[in-house]
Symmetry: C2
Subunit: 351 residues, 2 copies
């Protein structure tokens, strides 16, 4: 590991005049219309522009909808493997996927800081549009506000998402029960360490790239194979340990997980040791945990491994009893310890 | 008018310990869980808590949905007649109402600045919950992020909203045509002047209170009386003049409005003169413009006036031709002038 000065990372930015965002870009006048036309409509396309001031409308069939929201405040705005734009698509798509929903529509609300370069905004918006295309979702309505210099931090993005839940699919902590196997969809910690290393100017040997990615196709494939899914949770803020704790508490069950089966790449383990972090608490943006009945667990792992984004899927433990809401980690040394929630967080502004 | 020092207004705050928001409140650990339980669930109730980490799901019948988003960055956080919490409900409810939709569900995404008092947060959340109850909408999913002190400005809120559009209702600029009457739902400028006077420490004689209010019941009543509504637009950033301009451009029509018929209260007119503002460009948060065929216009005004929020509704002009996209104001002096978009804005951070 070597150190260099923490700097705004050198994102590849589109070549364009060196204009910056002004307060007037948020004022409802001609400058705002131009910004919408030149930056947002250019990337998101016409469906957005025709709806921009009212909201989008569309027809639905009878069914179950899922609705979710997340704001994104990650710093720096760009990091190895993504930026705040792609993250804002993946995070909300994944929240919908964790309900078993097929994600369809996103809203995009931007809070821009006066003085932000338009080139950076364009990069983030382009990245968001590309991530939406890749995930098969449409950004159908949007909003832009501008705050004074020093009252924001470049770009904050909120995305809300709507998806359709297939008939008969009920996924949630209330379905978790003793006998369920616990699966993780891949190796842990890359997103948090990638963002932190960029922010702090750390240069770890080995290439640490965020795992940020959409997960809905993996979930859809599990459902298509009639895998009974009791609960899903994406492993964002607080990481695997926090997700397991929340589900154990909500479901009123005790869980046991085996440290040696939890996939953590050597580079991430090494970076965590240097930084004094526990990879089980580090945020991921393309990983989830699944609670699957024992009888379906091996097949579920096999299906997950067919997807690039889940090719390191592993079975890491199981639900072992009804009491207590605790999560027990069996360590590599053979000892047991309780995996508890942290009080606060290891890494601020990681998403 | 008298001047006093611009200060954070003295909002009535709930009596509680003087705790403040920490970065760790956004970290996914126990502190975040406590904040969610003690502040958000306390106000928004259980339906939110059970869905907090996944997203909300519910069944829908076949029909048309509307989806909209807005971020709120108003300063100061509290102002005469409301605060950022009630505003975040009214603004998004009104965006849905302008599609003719019956608003049903809101998401709430908070970006909090480290150091914010929990009492202020609780006040805003309580106000948001009350505004949602009053408007008959449910806040069904949420998210909280915390940014470092000096990287935000107290509280930013994003609300996205979903509503159901009644069968056969199509409202939009594409339906505006020559012969349509132009109606405004009430007197203009109170929201913008109320916020500005609080922010700048101006104390105008007379009681200037924001017009922030939900508008969907007025729209529903017009629809219930089979009033043919061609287009609606709420008069937020940029005010009446900007809304008319946007619609004239989108519809490709020429409009004429009569200054003497446009309702502006004397206190607002006086404040605008002192401040060098034009009330036709000042933001409102409880006013809309409606384009209604001539044959339905008088009945529409009468129906609007049955509602407290629209009791000063007026017919202010009409669509007079297909050419040009221009808006002509016939002034009190008998002269004509073109009402154009401003380049930027008169008042930053008004919503």
């Amino acid at each position: 590991m070597t150190y260099h000065d923490p700097v705004e990372p050198t994102c590849p930015l589109p070549k364009m005049p060196g204009d910056t965002v002004q307060l007037a870009h948020g004022g409802g006048g001609r400058l705002m219309q131009n910004l919408i036309r030149d930056v947002f409509v250019r990337s998101f396309g016409d469906p957005l522009s025709t709806h921009l001031h009212d909201g989008a409308t569309w027809s639905v069939s009878e069914g179950t909808l899922a609705f979710t929201t997340d704001s994104y405040v990650v710093q720096p705005l760009c990091f190895p493997g993504g930026d705040i734009g792609s993250l804002a698509v993946h995070g909300t798509v994944n929240d919908l996927a964790m309900c078993g929903a097929h994600p369809l529509w996103l809203s995009a609300g931007f809070i821009l800081e006066e003085g932000l370069s338009i080139a950076m905004l364009q990069r983030v918006v382009d990245s968001m549009a590309q991530a939406a295309r890749d995930a098969g979702v449409s950004i159908v309505t949007g909003d832009t506000k501008v705050v004074d210099k020093g009252k924001g931090d470049g770009i904050f993005i909120n995305t809300a998402g709507i998806g359709v839940v297939p008939a008969g699919v009920i996924i949630g902590p209330q379905r978790v029960r003793p006998g369920d196997a616990i699966l993780v969809s891949g190796d842990l910690g890359s997103h948090g360490i990638a963002v932190l290393s960029m922010r702090e100017g750390l240069d770890f040997a080995g290439n640490i790239v965020s795992d940020s990615a959409p997960l809905h196709r993996v979930v859809a494939d599990l459902l298509a194979h009639n895998i009974e899914i009791h609960c899903l949770r994406d492993l964002t803020r607080g990481g695997l340990a926090s997700a397991l704790n929340e589900i154990a508490t909500a479901a009123g069950v005790r869980m046991s997980v085996y440290e040696r089966t939890i996939p953590v790449r050597d580079e991430i383990q090494g970076a965590c040791e240097v930084l004094g972090l526990d990879p089980l608490f580090v945020a991921n943006e393309g990983r989830f945990v699944a609670f699957i009945p024992e009888a379906h667990a091996d097949q579920a792992v096999a299906i997950m491994r067919n997807h690039d984004v889940a090719k390191a899927a592993m079975r890491i433990g199981g639900v072992i009893g009804h009491e207590s809401g605790a999560v027990v980690l069996k360590t590599i040394l053979g000892t047991h310890r309780i995996l508890d929630l942290l009080s606060g967080e290891q890494l601020p502004r990681i998403c």
